[in-house]
Amino acid sequence: MRTRDCKHICDESSPGIGEAGKTGEWRNSFPMIDQERCTPSRQNKPACFLCWLYCPEAVISKTVPVQINLEYCKGCGICSQVCPVQAITMINEEELHPEEDTQKS
């Protein structure tokens, strides 16, 4: 297959998860949601969803409870910044998988 088969004449893509590749590989820290704090979970009904709105990779679901697709979450931390109740904490990947990191170095 050659690129000509895509029939594009300028760069073109549909907004969607994974359009920029496996962005989960870029992550060095990941967002952890505290469902006890998260408003939709606490009220058990759709609410807030600011993290869903702001996530640049569109990997947060607009569901109760909200879920994050870690295959494509790039670890930017925007969700944790915008959360009005500080329900999202960024956790260092090293802390989670220290042995993996040791192997790398």
Binding site: D11, S13, I17, E19
Partner: protein, 378 residues
Amino acid sequence: MIAAYPITPQTPLTEKLSEFVEGGELNAEYVAVESEHSALTVCTSASMAGARTFTASSAHGLAYMHEMLHWAAGARLPVVLACVNRAIGAPWNILNDQQDSISQRDTGWIQIYARNNQEILDSVLQAYKIAETVYVPVMVCYDGYVLSHAEMPVAVPSQEDVDKFLPSYQPHTILDPANPKNYNLVTLADPRVNTEGVLCHGYMELRYLLQEALQNSGEVIIRVGQEFAELFGRSYANMFWEDRLADADIVIVAMGSLAMEATVAADMLRVKGHKAGVLGMRVFRPFPKADLLKALKKSRLIVVFDKNISYGSEGATCSEIKSALYGSGVNAVIRNFIVGLGGRDVKAREMADAVTKSLPLLKEGFLNSEYPEWICYI
């Protein structure tokens, strides 16, 4: 959709257009912007949203558009821009030469140069048809003051005929909230597979397609010129204007209004018994290398007059002619004269003199690698 920022000598054009829009004679949106950069950005955005767009500028204004000129071509948006050719400072100057558009020749735009006011109007109409066929923006260039501020008779075609000639614009991409798309995001070196599993272009493939579009646009330009001739009776089925080239061994090359003056110089040389002809460049990008070779087959002396220069090298038209002739077997002396910068008047007799002065080189021999000569008082 028209977006423009006023700059001398483009102003009569954009003032007239804004009057047309204001008076309801032209069904268009006129966006007054704060800079040329924004003017072209408004045009590219509107073009993506499906509108036919127009802008115009000169000199420093065109230079300020530079970034967006690249963008419009890379995004393959059929914007039409009138460049009213003017010299660029320093020193400050408002008069004509072609340095402004020549400095933008590598931005991926088609460039058409008009010799007179009729050709300006006709070229703009053709520009839309060409641009919207090959999806490459077109710059219609014409000499500031010399043409922009001169009056001459112009046949204005009827709206019905123009509608027959130019169908409505069919965008290749369209910004539509109902069908959201990303256009021209970061596109890295290598191709990538999109979410539907389709292998999509990397940066280089998209740039290849732009070059390919320009390479193939010559045919479209000629076909559109023929269609124009059929409807309006004025033929543009050519990439350059030929005047008495059939038997000419001396060829004068000039672009824009200077190509008309050159025919007067050829008259003068003919009176003296020289077989002189004129090649008036009409389309500078794509540069019509192959056609040019045919037209210059008989030439022994080619004198190229450039109202521009690539400093440290030579006039842009001259470089192109030399590169077209390389290895072609045409063994001509090619002389370059830099003329008319910053509005310096160029007279037919001066052009004829420059040719006459070059004649002995046919016997003495001449290295085509020589730097250009300037017709000035230094």
